[in-house]
Amino acid sequence: MLNLNWNIIWIFVNIIILFLLLRIFLYKPVMKILDKRAASIKKSLDDAEDAKKDAAELKAKYASELKNAGARADAIIKEATDNAKVQREKIIDKAKNDADNIIKSAEKQVELDREQAMKEMRSEIADIALRAAHKAMEQGDVSETSISSFLRQVGESDD
């Protein structure tokens, strides 16, 4: 027990062997698992951070898109209103033109009708005068008063 001798070599050998074995069976696997766990935790945290960043980016994108959509809607409405205005003016112009044309053609017609009527009246009057004169000649009284009374008679009769 108290003797120091060559048996000291045994402990060198044994400890070195134990050290090598423990390095293979204890330290390396345990450290590997600890590192792996640390890495996986770090990865999870990083992923979460990335996801958060992505979400924030998406949110900003959507917000800006929403804003753009509003602006675009405004533009569309404005365009539509403008179009409608132009269309309206066009339609009104056309209607005015049409109305003018109709009025003009109506006036023309009225003129024609009147001329026709005048012609007819003239021939009618001539006819009446002719008949009155004829009647007066038949009576033998060609004074102005008798002709005018005949004229009145013919004029008041239907034919």
Partner: protein
């Protein structure tokens, strides 16, 4: 009393031979070596069986083993710093070995640390590691120069330290285990029943683990001191 004294003297002087390997005219294997092999086998088998199934999601035993290894790493990193990380597995091995060796008495075996060859061997390995760490950290010239620091007058003392450090390591461990053994033998001789039990707990478990802790703690301290480039 005479009987106990002579019995103890005989015990101290003999190297218990467990068996003899029948080659080269017989190589005697001391008992301490056989017990050491037993400890090695149990520890390595334990690790091989339980560490193999380790997963990222730990079970209860895995958590305990991880905590223990993590504690070893934290403890020695605290003393040695990041650059001393390479020495941690060796120190952990010695810690586990001395711890097991000291409590093996509980199972009725003779602690290997009660063999002076074992503690001396461990101490010699420690001082070799300490000086190797010094050479590694400072280079051969720096290591040689460190012997005359802080002033050249200290040279003989620094050289003496090469012997004193391992000697104190060796003797502290051996003395504690031997002292515990002697006291336990005396107590058993006086009161063989029940009374030795609490003493056994103190000497075999508490003191045994404490000495393992002290041994590696001091070795780590010496390494850190040797690596210290001022």
């Amino acid at each position: 009393m005479e009987g106990i004294a002579s019995e103890m003297y005989n015990l101290l002087n003999e190297t218990k031979i467990a068996f003899t390997v029948p080659i080269f005219g017989g190589i005697p294997i001391p008992e301490s070596v056989v017990v050491t092999w037993g400890i090695m086998a149990v520890v390595v088998l334990f690790c091989a069986i339980f560490v193999r199934g380790f997963d990222v999601m730990p079970g209860r035993l895995q958590t305990a083993i991880e905590m223990f290894v993590g504690w070893i790493y934290d403890f020695f990193t605290g003393i040695l710093g990041e650059k001393g990380k390479r020495y941690i597995p060796y120190l952990g091995t010695v810690l586990i070995y001395i711890g097991c060796a000291n409590i093996v008495g509980l199972f009725g075996l003779t602690p290997p640390t009660k063999d002076l060859n074992v503690t001396a061997g461990l101490a010699i390995m420690s001082i070799v590691l300490v000086e190797a760490a010094g050479i590694r950290a400072k280079g051969a010239r720096g290591w040689l120069k460190s012997f005359k620091s802080p002033m050249p007058v200290m040279l003989p003392f620094n050289i003496l330290e090469l012997v004193i450090k391992p000697l104190s390591l060796c003797m502290r461990l051996f003395g504690n285990v031997l002292g515990a053994f002697v006291i336990m033998e005396l107590i058993k001789a006086v009161v063989p029943l029940i009374v030795p039990l609490p003493f056994s707990f103190y000497f075999d478990i508490f003191d045994g683990l404490l000495q393992a802790y002290v041994f590696v703690f001091l070795t780590a301290l010496y390494i850190s001191e040797a690596m210290d480039t001022e």
